[in-house]
Symmetry: C2
């Protein structure tokens, strides 16, 4: 139950404000997240981590000496946008290059990958190591498909300590990859969690039951049992991890391991210690030597009740990094060296926006686009609860709130752009950027791609033709399919996009006015979305089993249908 | 909801085992709790804190450099016994004397006061500063009656830093008293908590409501409202604290304050940060300068959902102590100096028990006493759930579990004593000590006092007469009334004890055999207990409003009645 909030759509922002205010000795706010407030020697590799909010201390809480240099902090359970990651990494960069590291979730992969490309293009050498420690989320043969959970921490810790020692970017990458290979976690859950302003839990576990392998956003597990005793749980966790030794380790006997027994939120410290008592005994019985165990909350999931156990199989170098000191808001260890506070002028911030010149015809078109974006924001507002409800069936239930944040931000950005004299292309680009940035998550990124592609086709000169709009839509659909890696039939928004694109192109080619063509295309999209939505009753309200990890699936098709219908209404009477 | 445990009666012990196992760098286990595992310079004042378990990181989690030297860790929500406090303090003592500091709860006051007397008698200069920061729990004119909540931490921190600087015991006491005067807290609660093995919450708050001023064990608050927004809550907390400035401070303007925004368990870090954002703004608006705020969990109450705000009004000396470094399992700050691990041989442990000689007649009497204690343990086991249920009406619901732990431990100790040849007095003393030590809480202490007083009257020589037993019971009742400060009519176990004592004495004086006299006395006790219990329906299941803070009230009378009846059965056929 989340009880304390103001406007739920502002929760993540206000949380970051309060967090930074309480921890100014260690972190300072930049666009997109936080960076260290302390000085880092020039030439040091910067470790930039991130992910959705709601997992404190992940991710902002572990920024500081000996750990991350910056954290991109997305909205609740939603990936930060590429722009957020780029902004934080630019601010964190000290000239030694950037390592991006984060847990393996589709939305995060999309955005961090995009950011990596932009950073490299901007001359900041950037690499990525994705954390895949959750053994329940895919077979060992497909370790690259596994999710990242509390093992994020061991990978971050090792990479950060290597950077602190002056390792080069290549060397830090090597360490992080080895740490990821040497880190295995398994988790269980006893309850779900409820996001701010939500009436119902995002997901749940039946009372008295335990979901084995459930992910920190409620991703499906591999088994469900009665809640065991503390000792039985310890055995289950230890046995599961000892059944899968990392490459090159053939027996636990004589090995040294870092250990994290992590609580997800509502499991209390006292319970963790009771479980740890038996975990420690079992590891010792197996011949392992435990090094600096951590029993507490390193990755949470709001008020979810759950526990995970992580083993970090050390070699001498990894052990040095595991034992190294750190001083962050939520994690402190040993004694770090004296440090100076960073002068704000030393942080490179994003540059101010420059509005390219546009002719009067394109400024006029921009005003029409603003009305369309206004219509989007309104229809999303009106349907936010319903979108959330649909998304909760097979996704994480945040589609309504995410779309709302994105569309509202796009409307503000579009208004500002119009006031500054922007043409259609610039207005759409600024809206796209605002949408992706504020909405976070996968759908935010996809709408950013879409608006941006349409803008590209419309340009900042001349009144756009119906053909240009149709070309823009084609570009948007191509972009979404390429970015999101979904095909028709995957039950994603692509199922509605493709008939929309095809109908629009056919009608425009046949000489129809834009308003008429758009309306017919919108009808085709709505019909396709409804077909997708028809699946819902059969999917039931059980835990998500969707194979696709594009979080918004059918809800995305449904919202797309609503939006193109709303835009159709704004086009009535237009003569393009 | 507490889900992870083995045997609920072993929960606190197993929790301490796991806690010590995970934090061996900072703490080591001793009888009764933990002490630092690191070396403290000889002559340093030792700060010994403590209280019931279930409040992690209070109290064991804040033992370490810069904070406490030892923590007496009681059972769940139950005071540690005097013996536990004495044991921990003896182990923590480095020759500079001991400061005992803890939150102001009746059970803790009883046990720590007893321990203080014993420590002083044993030549360890010992003083006490009780923390009374909760402004909702009594008017300012009766600050000494207020409970201690998260403000425990500021008092401990200041006292510990003073000790670390080499202050004498008198000076550390002065600092702790000033810190307590300068510390004010106010708390709110949104839900109760559930102890291990319990079917129902110990206490609760209606869904959607907020109990203003509710204590960390569910003690009644001063108001109940709907759950406010985060900003409204921040205003409520700040306004409440600014309405009561400490002595000598006439305006917040220009003052410096340490701040703790404390979560009690289920309120998430993210929510705390959202609230803190506005707290910080309000404090700044009031002209205060915030020094090193702490936003997190410093005193919890299992999975209770609640928040408290603490202001610590600093002067230069207190600010130095507030800013001082610390390194404990749950709280680390800045960089502490290098430190050596303590050699276990340097810790003074309690001495082994010596069994005084006893004659055959007294050994025979001891065997009869063992049967009586066995009967106590059996009847308590059989009625543990019922005792918990009765206690939950007006107390904290742990009477059944506490009596069970105590009686079982007494039975084990009595068996061992008998096997070692103990007489009646020694067997009762060892049972008394085991009961008080294992049961914790007020009833544990009272039963310890009672068994010990009976033993004193029986001696280790000769078969005890009925008159000796009656004298022992009179001594026991005197001891309980003096220790517990309760009178007949207060609805405590005294209501059953006094008629028991009076009937027994009258019958024995009149020449009745012990078995007959005891049976009649037991009937009188049962009748009195039933009269006390009759109040229950009228008290309803609402939140406790009992004025007496002797937690077990009517349940104690009821269990006393059961016990003396069970003993009566063991005496049938005895010819004393």
């Amino acid at each position: 139950m989340t009880r304390l909030f103001n406007d739920p759509t502002e929760f993540a922002d206000e949380m970051i404000d309060g967090f930074v205010s309480a921890n100014a000795q260690q972190v300072r706010r930049v666009a997109g997240g936080v960076v260290r407030s302390t000085r880092t020697p020039d030439g040091t590799v910067a470790l930039v981590i991130g992910g959705g909010s709601g997992h404190y201390p992940a991710f902002g809480g572990i920024v500081g000496q000996g750990l991350a240099h910056g954290a991109a902090m997305g909205n609740l359970f939603a990936s930060p946008s590429a722009q957020q990651v780029e902004s934080v990494a630019t601010a964190a960069n000290r000239g030694g290059g950037v390592l991006l590291s984060y847990g393996n979730y589709a939305g995060d992969v999309l955005h961090f990958t995009q950011a990596e490309q932009k950073l490299n293009a901007a001359g900041i050498p950037t690499r990525t190591v994705v954390v895949t420690d959750d053994i329940s989320s895919a077979p060992v043969a497909e370790k690259h498909k596994r999710r990242g959970i509390a093992g994020d921490f061991t990978v971050f810790k090792a990479a950060a300590a290597a950077a602190e020692e002056g390792y080069t970017l290549d060397e830090v990458v090597r360490v992080a990859e080895l740490a990821n290979e040497r880190t295995r976690s398994v988790g269980v859950a006893f309850s779900g969690c409820t996001l701010p302003g939500a009436d119902e839990p995002l997901f749940s576990v039946p009372e008295g039951r335990m979901a084995v392998g459930m992910g920190i956003h409620g991703e499906p597990g591999i088994d469900e049992t009665d809640v065991p005793t503390a000792d039985e749980l310890a055995s289950l966790l230890v046995d599961s991890l000892l059944a899968e030794l990392p490459d090159g380790i053939h027996s636990p006997e004589g090995h040294r391991v870092g250990v994290i027994l992590n609580g997800l939120g509502s499991v209390k410290y006292e319970e963790l210690f009771v479980v740890y008592r038996h975990v420690a005994a079992l590891l010792q019985n197996a011949g392992l030597e435990v090094v600096d165990p951590e029993v507490g909350e390193l990755v949470t999931s709001f008020d979810m009740a759950g526990v995970s156990l992580t083993l970090f199989w050390l070699d001498d170098e990894l052990e040095r990094f595991w034992r190294a000191p750190a001083d962050t808001p939520a994690y402190r260890k040993g004694s770090v060296g004296a440090v100076q506070q960073l002068d704000p002028s030393e942080v490179q911030e994003a540059e101010a926006v420059v509005i390219p010149e546009a002719d009067e015809a394109s400024q006029h078109a921009a005003a029409v686009v603003l009305r369309a974006i206004d219509a989007i924001a309104t229809v999303v507002d009106d349907n936010a609860d319903e979108l959330g409800r649909i998304d909760a069936v097979a996704g994480d239930g945040d589609h309504g709130i995410g779309m709302q944040r994105g569309a509202r931000a796009a409307r503000v950005a579009a208004s500002e752009a119009l006031a500054l004299g922007a043409g259609a292309k610039t207005l759409l680009e600024m809206s796209a950027s605002a949408w992706a940035n504020k909405a976070g998550g996968t759908s935010g990124a996809l709408w950013g791609v879409a608006l941006s592609a349409v803008g590209e086709a419309l340009g900042d000169e001349d009144a756009p033709s119906a053909a240009a709009v149709s070309a823009g839509i084609t570009g948007a659909v191509d972009g979404i399919m390429s970015f999101g890696k979904a095909e028709v039939g995957d039950k994603t928004m692509v199922d509605a996009l493709v008939p929309f694109r095809d109908t629009l192109a056919r009608e425009v080619d046949g000489g129809a006015a834009l308003a008429d063509a758009w309306k017919r295309a919108a009808d085709a999209a709505t019909q396709a979305a409804a077909a997708t939505a028809d699946l819902l009753p059969r999917m039931g309200r059980a835990r998500p089993h969707a194979e696709k990890s594009l979080g918004t699936v059918d809800a995305g098709a449904y919202s797309f249908g609503l939006i193109v219908q709303a835009i159709a209404a704004t086009l009535v009477g237009k003569t393009v």
